[in-house]
Symmetry: C2
Subunit: 342 residues, 2 copies
């Protein structure tokens, strides 16, 4: 295994220590029996709804890199590819609650769903913290599997955190912030393609074997199987595969037809080991394909946003936009991984 680490055991703690050292506006609450969380150093303003997300480590910058003004108030990292535990999530929620309640942003993955749900129940029983949950389930590749009931949650998490986070920053209510998160999720779809498997520090070996001339089409963010194993294809063909899967959703209009007036926020995210030069090639192909359908990309992200350790590959996410979503997208944000207007 070729990785920069001290030990598999200290991988998450060492990495979080680096996140905190690099970003003085964040604090990592590392003590306590329940596991760490990343929070803004500044206390939540009274009356502001707080956003808390989390999940297994290995998807950086998700989620800790999205903590900051205009996005998350706290993020709960589990061990690598392992859900955070209820006590950890509850501690984060209590720490950042500003009295207006907390929205949990949860990727649809069975362990995450259960543990966030238990944290929400604990919050209701034991504390005065009101919780609403937004479940993110944007990955169209696979429905129902060993790991998840329904669709898996992936890239749309960034859109949900950004847009609902902007609404929370404006002082809107718990119900409104959560509804906005659900609306963004409902408007978003993703699809990913892997060229290589990733290696967890504890395992030391790739999670699956992908021959030198093959790719995994529709891969999950932990390397879960996709729809099919295919021969390597050109960037144009890869983008077409991914967008065909996404655009099959009625959300983006009738399949194969030109869509006058459909606007999207588009993300091409590397999965960890794919260089930016290649992500731009995929984005170029995606732009062309969408232009042929008269779907306009009105905002975009190209880079490493939702990753899978050292997997080579890329995910495509589209969010159907409207004026309200775009205004919230453009609102100021100041986090390690997304920053504008501040």
């Amino acid at each position: 295994m070729k990785k920069f680490l001290n030990s598999a055991e200290s991988f998450v703690a060492d990495s979080l220590a680096g996140l905190a050292a690099a970003h003085p506006a964040l604090r990592v609450q590392a003590e306590g029996p329940d596991g760490p969380f990343v929070a803004r150093r500044a206390a939540t303003q009274p009356g502001k709804v707080a956003l808390v997300s989390g999940g297994g480590y290995g998807h950086e910058p998700l989620h800790g890199g999205f903590v900051g003004v205009g996005m998350l108030d706290a993020a709960c990292p589990g061990e690598v590819f392992t859900s955070p535990v209820p006590g950890q999530i509850l501690a984060a929620a209590q720490a950042v609650d500003g009295g207006a309640g907390v929205v949990f942003v949860v990727k649809n993955y069975t362990g995450d769903v259960l543990n966030f749900q238990m944290a929400a129940e604990l919050a209701a029983e034991d504390t005065g913290v009101a919780v609403e949950t937004v479940l993110v389930d944007d990955d169209v590749a696979v429905r129902d599997s060993t790991w998840t009931a329904g669709r898996r949650g992936t890239g749309a998490t960034v859109f949900v955190e950004k847009i609902a986070g902007a609404l929370a920053e404006r002082g809107e209510s718990l119900a409104d912030v959560a509804d906005m998160g659900r609306r963004v999720n409902a408007n978003s779809r993703s699809f990913a393609v892997a060229l290589t498997a990733c290696t967890t520090p504890a395992n030391g070996k790739p999670g699956f074997l992908l021959p030198e001339d093959e790719m995994e089409v529709g891969v999950g963010i932990h390397g879960e199987p996709g729809r099919s194993r295919e021969k390597l294809a050109s960037a144009r063909e890869v983008a077409a595969l991914a967008l065909d899967a996404i655009l099959a959703e009625p959300l983006f209009g009738a399949q194969g037809e030109r869509q006058d007036g459909v606007e999207v926020i588009a993300m091409v995210s590397g999965l960890g080991a794919t260089p930016l030069s290649e992500l731009y090639i995929l984005f170029h192909e995606a732009s062309r394909l969408l232009a042929e359908r008269d779907i306009s990309i009105v905002r975009s992200l190209v880079g490493n946003y939702v990753t899978s350790l050292d997997m080579a590959g890329a995910s495509f996410t589209l969010c159907r936009a409207d004026d309200e979503l775009l205004e919230l997208w453009d609102a100021p944000v100041n986090t390690p991984a997304l920053r504008w207007g501040l």
Copy 2:
């Protein structure tokens, strides 16, 4: 070769098309016999010194990702790991000159040095564009090689472009902007470690072979040989190797002694295939080691800033800072890869 591309021949053009599609504030001047350049869409303000950089493709986001308000006015990409040509550089300089002259920011690499020099001579002979050149030579690993006379240029380029770019934005003179660039370079040192070689699209195979239990210590940004081939070591040992090499420079004070009052801007940059989680681990170790020496990290960058295609590895860059440099560092910047205050 597992890459997202359409063909080796179209790799750079397709990637630049994606950059332009993702960043409407940039334009890619792709036509003309001399090769493309990336420029701000807005014309250079009259009286503002323009900054132009460039080099072989494959180091993204360097340089095109640093074009924008507060940094570069234009970037000239060559083919992968191949210097841009003089006509291309001259065309970029002419396009962005605002009448106050142009600073060339050139990484010390023989082909780049010769071609930027020829472009400067052409500018002096054939055009009214005044040019000053800032040579970046921060890589302490190797002095004099097949590829470069003196030290190679690498990570400090980002610091030079940011800080000199901020001074240019303020309306300072050509001589002052160039002098500031030279001062930043003189204050900066870098060192990189590779875990794997990178593969150019044209070659299709790794540039060198690195056994599964070895790393290249002091690697160059095209995979040029470093100081030694070593057994894989812990993140702590890797950070120590790199910082020992950098701190051996008198610039940072007497070796081995505590340095009261020395402040640095620190960057840990991935080389393309190393995930952010590991870069944070390296940054954590670097922070500890510097703290032991009483050297303060006052600003930092952790992420992919100066890469080598799909190489797994990381570079460390320190710039000795002072109040003037920090004020310019903090000045607003709005580029694809660095953005704050705007």
